[in-house]
């Protein structure tokens, strides 16, 4: 069976378990995952039977791309009765019994939801987002191949960044170097993120104090950004000597995202920051040692907390003070904020096919952020490290290969 049919069957089987009659999928990434097309429309997947993709635009393109039946959406008036015809088993219930319809409550805007509610007065609506996210959590071999390709490209960009890194250049200038490499290699221009209001372009290159500036962004390092209208990630701050340069970057090739972090310095890092960096590598190695099917996600997080506490760096771990985030890593695939999360409350046991970015980092307000991040696929016997960039602090000599003018 082809991969997308298998995904839809997994969804249908979960729907039956959960007592859901129909799933309506509207978000571009979820659409792509289930049918290979992200044109504007509604995908209806019944618990039993064949799905129908009702498309507003572009119908022509949806028919080329999608591997399910495609119909023109047309007017919302009468849409309810079209659905009843298309899915008689689901929508023709006995008196008083309602059709249970699930939607992606985590991303679906209220306006669109109310339009759907209006078209289906006989439905009882439930949140289907966890169900979809849990299916997407387990990657196929083909998905992992796609992430490997993103890993290869981001490594080229990392090396390009190191070769371009010069004292005094702004963070955003170094980011532009990274972006040029990945774009020429087919990066789509941003890393998709599911969370409301979250924006990620290429991650964050942050130098010294700027990297330690807290932000709304749901990650351990925020960044000063370009100003209050874009208050995160890289900004205008000139990169200085002897301060940590956090190079937290990723790209999205063929729809799949990679996420990695390295720490660089022009000249030399102060001893305590170097030691904190080394602790981040130690935490990563310890985490790797437990990275195998059966390990409970939250235990990876609590073990890391314990290690960091023993080293006396708890206050600096994954942000500082009130702005600390409470996780060690996150699933990644078509989006950067997938399941599982390595955090308290996530009781998933690791399974082959999970892909997780693990990112121990230490924040020093006024001084910077150090750390490392690799993306891993869980295998039958342990893990495959998908990230290929060399580890360790990347040291760029102060004057490098530049001719020093007198």
């Amino acid at each position: 069976m082809d991969e997308r049919s298998a995904r839809r069957l997994r969804l249908q089987s979960k729907m039956k378990e959960a007592g859901i009659d129909v799933c309506v999928i509207t978000q571009n990434v979820d659409l792509y995952y289930f049918i290979g097309s992200m044109q504007t429309g509604y995908l209806f997947i019944p618990a039993e039977g064949e799905p129908v993709y009702f498309v507003r635009r572009s119908f022509v393109r949806a028919r080329e791309e999608a591997d399910v039946a495609v119909e023109e959406l047309g007017s919302m008036r009468g849409f309810g009765s079209r659905l009843a015809e298309a899915f008689p088993r689901q929508f023709r219930k006995r008196d008083g019994e309602k059709t249970v319809v699930a939607a992606e409550y985590d991303v679906l805007p209220v306006q669109l939801f109310q339009r759907l509610e209006g078209a289906l007065p006989g439905a009882r609506w439930v949140d289907g987002s966890m169900l979809i996210r849990e299916i997407r959590m387990i990657k196929s071999a083909a998905e992992i191949i796609a992430i490997r390709e993103s890993a290869r490209v981001i490594d080229m960009a990392y090396e390009a960044a190191l070769s371009a890194l010069k004292e005094g250049m702004p963070e955003v200038g170094l980011m532009a170097v990274v972006e040029s490499v990945i774009r020429h290699n087919g990066h789509m221009g941003l890393m998709r993120v599911r969370g409301y209001n979250q924006e990620i372009i290429t991650g964050m290159i942050g130098a010294g104090a700027a990297a330690a500036t807290p932000t709304y962004f749901d990650g351990p390092a925020g960044g000063e950004g370009l100003g209050p209208a874009s208050p995160q990630s890289s900004g205008w701050r000139p990169i200085g000597t002897g301060e940590p340069i956090l190079i937290d970057i990723g790209c999205c090739i063929g729809g799949y995202v990679i996420d990695q972090t390295r720490t660089a310095v022009i000249g030399e890092l102060p001893d305590d920051l170097r030691q904190a960096y080394e602790l981040s590598e130690t935490v990563l190695r310890e985490t790797e040692a437990r990275l195998m099917p059966g390990t409970i996600c939250e235990e990876l997080y609590t073990a890391a907390l314990e290690q960091v506490r023993a080293a006396g760096l708890s206050d600096h771990f994954m942000g500082f003070g009130a702005d600390q985030v409470k996780f060690l890593g996150h699933g990644i695939g078509l989006e950067i904020d997938e399941l599982p999360v390595l955090a308290r409350g996530f009781r998933y046991a690791l399974e082959p096919g999970m892909v997780i970015a693990i990112e121990p980092k230490f924040t020093f307000p006024g001084r910077g952020v150090v750390g490392i991040e690799n993306t891993y696929a869980i295998t039958e016997t342990g893990f495959e490290k998908l990230t290929v960039s060399r580890e360790g602090i990347a040291v760029v000599p102060r004057y490098g290969s530049r001719v020093v003018q007198q």
Copy 2:
């Protein structure tokens, strides 16, 4: 009075007219517009009295940025009673009377909405998105200055693209040139868009048939894109000789977006496409002639339709066949899809401070898209053209300045 206080007063006055007691604002761009900060949280603006910004993260940064009272959000349990204390006039109603609360239904995800509903059981919820979008429709002098700066930067990028344009290079390679210029000049990395599932990085550079490929994107030209996981905008297609190259690009500096289109060619365009391009300039000039306070938005669209019909190009205008879009232009500012829209049903009279991208384009399936797009500010007496790039078809000689190897 400072600008943001004035914006909030305009909102409060509209709220009173509409019978809304409280507005809760959650979207990053709306937050930035009203209080200068886009940290994660809820901004409550009462119809009368002072707003409070309840922030989850980063509280520290919100306090630096926002010009209203900032409080830590804390637990959602008890949030209702905190609100009742903060806004006694709004939340302590007589028996049976509900507090009318407006939210951004066009962007707010259902999950977050239901969390807010749960915290405020005594509220009657209404959609506040049009109200907010109508306030944002009228730009201040400072906002127009910001858009002028984006216009200056995108013009540099356009010239860089022309200088880099060579036969055989992929569309995405030319786009990478544009992106490098704008990023080095402070572009935030994407052009923000409000519409669900809509993604715009830098617009679209599309060559020949690729530009005419329809997509889900709500604009006249779609593009082949990089594949079904990113099925719009620039792709791998090599740019050829004698075909239209649509350079529809923008950037976002200091939060404000510009949007412009130019048509280029290596060698020469076929006569009919050249004539279609000339018609797009004619339509633009005719539209400019009506661009002044008092003109009704939809009349600009219907007048353009009439002009195009007279020239016999209706089938090609703003897309082709079923994939035609039904507008001539769109408001632009912090987001690319603002009010007003130049389309049927938009009865707004033009007002000083409106900023509109006007984009007559003609699509020829299998051959390409030609057209032009400028962004204009409406003034007391007419308009200011914010776009500064030179008009006309940009002709690049076939071999240009390259040394032809034997």
